[in-house]
């Protein structure tokens, strides 16, 4: 399992290079043929070792490599860095936080004015993102510009860690999906399919759109990571998903209504395998499945997600049993469509 390594790599939307290189190295080591396109998607061609393999399913699996983050927008005279958000990062998790900047990984912190210096009404409001800045300890602007530049991508500096059966780290959305795809790619199947590690999902599913056009698949399954809101003060109907109840199947989100036959097949595979599963009870947010489903003349597509608490934060939490069960459902799904189509 490569979840720890994948979680700790920086890969903000538009700057997925380090994640891509890591995955490419694995594919090379396993002798899996791969290539890339101009936007940065990585295609792994899983070819059958069985001579009589059908290989006709033309199945596309996809998981996005990118994570939400920040981008340096200006360097102040004082040497502090201002930033833009890249994707839907949860602003409430930005203060009191270490970050890494640029591909060299320059370390910085996002601080907050000391509580002692704040007026009471200031404390009562959320910290606006346009008032925050990154401190790298530079003496002034010139000093800062020696090691960073406007346009540098910024990601959380956070260790991934397994404790008490759960896994904690940044960027689990969607390195958990990438790690699951890598697990699948190490197995043998009686047919061929293509696994795509996509880019720029967090800023509008842009990589998947290109990838689906290029592959023109007959069927697609997206491996994702989604909100688990099984928390205090949240009613059960609002939980979206719950940790430990198995991978979540999407009924609909803002980008797709899951193709009924894909959904039926996912449920059938889980039931036959005795694998727990749940439904994602929330209709908001978009996924790569939406972009893929509208490629060419349309592609039947579905989504299977890891439930994850504190999504888009530096300390997201998922349950490793859910992750393993996601791998098993995807494995069963591939075997099922290779054997009998959709």
């Amino acid at each position: 399992m490569f979840l720890k390594e994948l979680s700790e790599l920086p890969g903000v939307s538009g700057n997925e290079g380090q994640v891509r290189s890591f995955i490419q190295a694995k594919l090379s080591a396993w002798g899996i043929r791969y290539d890339c396109d101009t936007i940065g998607n990585l295609y792994a061609y899983k070819e059958t070792k069985f001579r009589n393999g059908k290989g006709e399913a033309n199945l596309m699996l996809a998981a996005h490599m990118d994570e939400v983050g920040l981008m340096v927008s200006a360097v102040e005279k004082s040497g502090h860095l201002r930033f833009y958000k890249v994707g839907g990062i949860d602003e409430r998790f930005l203060v009191s936080r270490p970050v890494r900047i640029g591909n060299a990984g320059i370390k910085g912190v996002i601080g907050a004015k000391a509580i002692h210096l704040q007026k009471k009404e200031e404390r009562g409001k959320p910290l606006p993102v346009n008032k925050l800045y990154i401190d790298i300890g530079a003496k002034d602007k010139d000093d800062a510009l020696k090691v960073v530049k406007v346009g540098d991508y910024v990601s959380f500096l956070a260790h991934a860690e397994e404790f008490q059966g759960i896994f904690k780290g940044k960027a689990l959305d969607n390195r958990a999906g990438c790690a699951a795809l890598l697990e699948i790619l190490q197995r043998d199947y009686p047919g061929s399919f293509t696994a795509v590690f996509t880019v720029q999902e967090e800023i509008g599913c842009r990589g998947a759109r290109v990838a689906a056009y290029r592959l023109n698949p007959r069927l697609a399954l997206v491996l994702e990571t989604t909100v688990a809101a099984d928390l205090p003060d949240v009613e059960e109907k609002d939980h979206v998903t719950q940790l430990g109840k198995g991978p979540a199947f999407t009924l609909q989100d803002s980008s797709i209504v899951t193709h009924p036959r894909v959904l039926e097949r996912l449920i059938a595979v889980a039931r036959e395998g005795g694998i727990p599963y749940q439904f994602r009870r929330y209709s908001g947010a978009s996924t790569d499945a939406g972009a893929i489903s509208l490629a060419h003349g349309g592609v039947p597509a579905g989504v299977i997600s890891n439930p994850c608490r504190y999504l888009h934060s530096p300390a997201s939490i998922l349950n490793l049993d859910d992750w393993r069960n996601q791998v098993e459902v995807v494995d069963g799904f591939i075997r099922s469509v290779l054997a009998k189509g959709l």
């Binding site: 502090h80 936080r97 928390l231 999504l311």
Partner: protein, 358 residues
């Protein structure tokens, strides 16, 4: 590697070690160990008083020599478990003054029957309604997620378990470093530097270096240590606000320009003057600030102990105080330690006697 360089690295390593250690107010034991080990080679005697203050004694020339007390608090702000929710989520109160907006998403260690990892959670963004979006969270809105099943939490983590923030020391550019609990482990590191310098100096005075407890919950440790030691004078070593965008210039001090010497009613004017004179005489840069009332430091308690103790305050400029990414410049620690050591070496009987009827 030059001796100078090695020494600086040693100071940095000590700061890293005690910054990463946990010791919230009232529960300072875990950080007391490494502090005691680091000071041992430079002092003649070590003891802890009833409240937990760690007192290092450096012997003076004779019994009648002045007795100086320098103190810095070793406690850090933290949390304490107050309630176990269904599914095992923990509710908590603060030990010390947090900006609650800095807590969500922070990683913590919970001191139950063993030490457990946890993450501070809050309502997911998409479930916030109307005015919730305009309001900062309150402590009652937050909880700790350990990932443990409820029955295990109930068995292993009691109400009253203390919780400390978890943060690795972060080297920034040049001599700038970030981490948690620099308030006031930076002060403790400055005292250590002072002990190190003093070990090579000839000094008449008896010097007591004290790592105090419970500053963050009401400046309690220094009250007791001052009463117990009855020094002729006391210097509190703490942190002050470093320069950050958005703060008025008069509220903050620049990083890397030396330690800050405070003046005001909480401070004996002769002591502040002497500290500044020492800085000038030995070429140690320093900054000044003023505090118009009792300071929020150990100095507040020292001054009114027994029949009154002449008191001074030496501070390290610190950005983002009470967050987990407090930032400082190592040279301010080094300079502060040297300044305090030269001050101690120059404090004789006549200086101390001159502090009355000034």
């Amino acid at each position: 590697m030059s001796e100078e360089h090695w020494e600086k690295k040693e100071l940095e390593n000590f700061l890293k070690e005690i910054s990463e250690a946990h010791g919230v107010s009232g529960y300072e034991d875990l950080v007391a160990g490494p502090i005691e080990r680091a000071f041992a080679k430079y002092v003649d005697e070590t003891r802890r008083d009833n409240l937990g203050n760690l007192i290092f004694y450096k012997k003076g020339k004779r019994d009648t020599a002045p007795r100086l007390m320098f103190c810095a608090h070793m406690d850090e702000i933290g949390l304490i478990v107050t309630f176990v929710e269904k599914k095992g989520f923990l509710r908590f109160n603060a030990l010390g003054g947090f900006d609650v907006r800095t807590l969500p998403g922070q990683e913590v260690k919970i001191y139950g029957k063993e030490i457990y990892s946890g993450v501070i959670g809050q309502l997911p963004s998409h479930l916030r309604k109307g005015e919730q979006k305009e309001k900062a969270p309150e402590i009652k809105d937050l909880f700790i997620d350990t990932g443990l099943p409820e029955e295990v939490v109930r068995d292993r983590i009691d109400i009253g378990a203390v919780v400390a923030l978890q943060r690795e020391f972060i080297p920034l550019r040049h001599r700038c470093r970030a981490g948690k609990a620099f308030d006031d482990r930076a002060g403790v590191a400055l005292l250590w530097q002072c002990a190190c310098e003093l070990s090579r100096m000839d000094h008449e005075a008896h010097v007591y270096l004290v790592a105090t407890v419970q500053e963050e919950v009401g400046i309690r440790g220094a009250m007791v240590s001052t009463y117990g030691l009855t020094p002729d004078l006391g210097v509190a070593v703490d942190v002050c606000h470093g320069d950050i965008p958005g703060a008025a210039e008069h509220e903050v001090s620049p990083l890397g320009k030396g330690p800050v010497i405070t003046s005001g009613p909480n401070i004996h004017p002769r002591l502040a003057e002497r500290l500044m004179a020492v800085g000038k005489d030995y070429g140690i840069p320093f900054e000044q600030d003023i505090s118009p009332g009792p300071t929020g430091t150990d100095a507040r308690a020292i001054q009114v102990s027994r029949d009154g103790i002449p008191t001074a305050l030496l501070s390290v400029p610190l950005r983002y105080m009470h967050t987990s990414v407090e930032s400082l410049d190592l040279d301010d620690l080094k300079g502060g330690g040297r300044l305090l050591a030269f001050f101690a070496a120059g404090a004789d009987r006549s200086f101390v006697e001159g502090l009355a009827c000034f």
